[in-house]
Symmetry: C2
Subunit: 452 residues, 2 copies
């Protein structure tokens, strides 16, 4: 494949290069040392939620599965690695045949997570697993950050629709993933046509101030839009004087006018005035859409205002203050030898400088209280206690290299709604606080419980 085929402002022929160079250096060194084929378990988890957040949202799992399937080394990529002397010929030969053949388990997409939740577990040889670190973290860290912000915004919006409008505020392809994560987190639609094309998300859009300014009079612009889109369209009413624009809009479209959009000013005040004016003009069914630097707090503050839908841009695609998660991909267990039947030893960084973690392959379960509400995220090594056996969180995603858990985005979206609804009520408080349930670690050997 060459650049022209792509037609994209990118030129990366497969997911294999979405990879930090050190993954390849480790691969080559392990091959030379005879340790590359040791069976290994890597886990994705986060040591903390973003400050003040009460839960995290797993997003990007479906994109990870695509990335793993497309993690192949075509001749262009191999030539690049050779030319840059990143690995030697023996390693290049191995890479030419690369295909992940291991197993991946993980929290199903849309689930909530907490500090220490083993969000994804990748198992296979060290060689095949280590290479996937960077792309898996890129996808999960980005998408989960956006989904978490979307989830808070959708809680704040209640039943009112949320439109994702952030494409212009983030990288053009990050925007497509952001639309996906926003929909997962409860958004209703997107302005981004690439997201509609790629993921089937409903798309919406009407007009900008430029359209009004293009015409000699605001009335001309409104007439042009109504002629083109019908009376059900949304007219932007804040280019000049809002009250005059609302009057003109109803004159042009009649009381059947679909909606008006307000994109500046004191939205609370303006929404009340516009609602009153619309009602006086008989346009009682005309909706009001607001779209001006909204975040979850602004949305919540408009709960009592006569607003029918929110459009959210910047704060959505930047994770409302937390544009990334701090997920890491850590080796937690590996075999003593390359014998496929060798037992797995738990391993973990032990330095005193922080960033320590807990070794061993983990399970996780969400313990419920007597009312069926989540009360703890229980993470353990060793056998799963009987009482938690049917509350386990990890599901099989890839088996022997084959993706076994493709899901539609609507299934994932519904799962998130259900998972959030199962948390204690304080989960959806917008104020800063602690994770809404604690993480408890079960030591495989003693079976004892320890709070995080």
């Amino acid at each position: 494949m060459n650049t022209a085929d792509l037609g994209l402002p990118v030129d990366v022929p497969s997911t294999a290069l979405f990879t930090d160079q050190y993954e390849f250096t480790m691969l080559q060194a392990a091959m030379k040392a005879g340790t590359a084929e040791r069976r290994s378990v890597f886990e994705v988890f986060t040591r903390r939620l973003p400050e003040g957040r009460r839960y995290g949202v797993v997003a990007g799992t479906g994109r990870v599965l695509d990335a793993v399937e497309n993690f192949r080394f075509d001749p262009d990529v191999l030539a690049f690695l050779r030319e840059r002397k990143i690995v030697d010929e023996e390693t290049l030969d191995w890479l030419a045949d690369y295909r992940f053949s291991g197993d991946i388990w993980g929290y199903p997409e849309g689930e909530v997570y907490f500090p220490g939740s083993p969000i994804m577990r990748v198992e296979g040889t060290f060689a095949e697993c280590v290479l996937l670190e960077t792309v898996i973290l890129s996808v999960l860290n980005h998408d989960s950050a956006i989904a978490a912000a979307a989830s808070r915004m959708s809680s704040a919006a209640g039943e009112r629709p949320l439109i994702e409008m952030g494409a212009r505020r983030t990288h053009e392809l990050a925007a497509v993933a952001a639309s996906r994560a926003a929909y997962l987190g409860g958004f209703t639609s997107t302005s981004d046509l690439a997201a509609g094309f790629r993921y089937g998300i409903p798309t919406v859009g009407t007009s900008a101030h430029a359209f009004t300014l293009l015409h000699d009079r605001e009335r001309d612009a409104f007439q042009a839009q109504v002629k083109s889109m019908g009376r059900g369209t949304t007219l932007l009413v804040d280019t000049y004087d809002v009250a005059e624009a609302v009057r003109t809009a109803v004159e042009v479209a009649g009381p059947e006018l679909g909606a008006v959009r307000i994109d500046s000013g004191d939205l609370l005040l303006v929404a009340h005035r516009v609602r009153q004016q619309l009602d006086e003009l008989g346009a009682t069914d005309t909706r009001i859409i607001v779209t001006s630097d909204l975040d979850e707090y602004a949305i919540a503050s408009l709960a009592a205002a006569p607003v029918d839908a929110y459009g959210v841009g910047t704060q959505l695609v930047t994770g409302s203050g937390h544009p990334t998660c701090s997920m890491v991909y850590k080796l937690v267990a590996r075999a003593e030898s390359t014998d496929p039947t060798a037992p797995l030893l738990p391993v973990a960084k032990k330095s005193t400088g922080g960033k320590t973690s807990i070794g061993g392959r983990k399970w996780a379960a969400r313990r419920l209280d007597e009312y069926g509400v989540a009360e703890a995220e229980v993470v353990g090594t060793g056998p799963v206690p009987d009482a938690l056996a049917d509350r386990q969180l990890l599901v099989e995603l890839v088996k022997g290299g084959d993706v076994v858990a493709r899901e539609s985005l609507d299934v994932v979206r519904d799962r998130h709604t259900a998972a959030r609804a199962n948390l204690p009520l304080s989960a959806t408080q917008l104020s800063r606080g602690e994770p809404v349930i604690p993480t408890e670690y079960v030591n495989g050997r003693s079976g004892s419980l320890t709070g995080s």
Copy 2:
């Protein structure tokens, strides 16, 4: 083209869908109203810098030029727009032949900018220009945010190399653009192989804690790495005990050991101890690389520490607190009619709710003081004062649809260094402050100067 050809975890056949739906609704309505062919001028600018920042950095211009060239409607895209009923058949026919045929001028990539700087100016028919809004803003808002953070970090680092290591903390393709913007802003290299492949940026990378944990002893891991990569490699010394690891590292590699990397703990303290230990072991040329949640403040705080290079991840790719810019794309002038010779009228949003702007096609120049240091960003409509004629900032990028200003990334990187050096000294203060030079508006008719 089909999905399989792409091999990417994306499936967007051209840049034409990196577009908000409302651009297409405006296009169709303007076509019906007979206004779509009115000659129009759109400008990209920002009303403010991120809070406390003293200058902005123009980045992404080269990517914008690629995006404009690839803004074409292939059959897949047209079929999608038809199926979703986003535009009608007449509009689809027009889109099938779309090719931007206008002119683009802009600040050259790498330049600094200030509130009101006309960073890019797009001129042509309303129809051809309005469609480009979303993708142009996506690219410039993302890339400029990263470049601004990179520039501050490179000021703080002085002559010490900076390694971009943030791929795992942002969307996998945003990461590639972020590496590019970081290099532009003064970074030395990247860990992201896709950025090396796509943009020729130098790549680096050695090993992670997982590599040490894979082996039975730290010594085995170090021996494996040195055997594979040579004595010039960088050994990671904070998996267990740092002092013991440094001792082992020098035993294994000898005093020719290239570098040690420290990824956790109190970097100031640990760097001093490690330097002393390395010197005592005779490894006086072994360098120390630090990499643990660094930002420009942490880098500055290590200025007096024996550190030889910094690796920066999260804070770089998230713009160090400002992951996007607030650039907008506004219609500032348009013809009275579709006659190509009709005069251009300045236009601007006038609503009282904020977000107002200044109409008219603008020029910009940087006025220097008697010592040749920048003292004001002068932005005006109408004729350029003689004294500023040779200090104009906008250059021609696209002429009649053809890209006329392709540049290498090294040229852009050098331009940024020079532009920053030409600002008052306080530009590189890390503390929060006002833009380092004011923006002055020159009214075309009166020639009078007004401070912003």
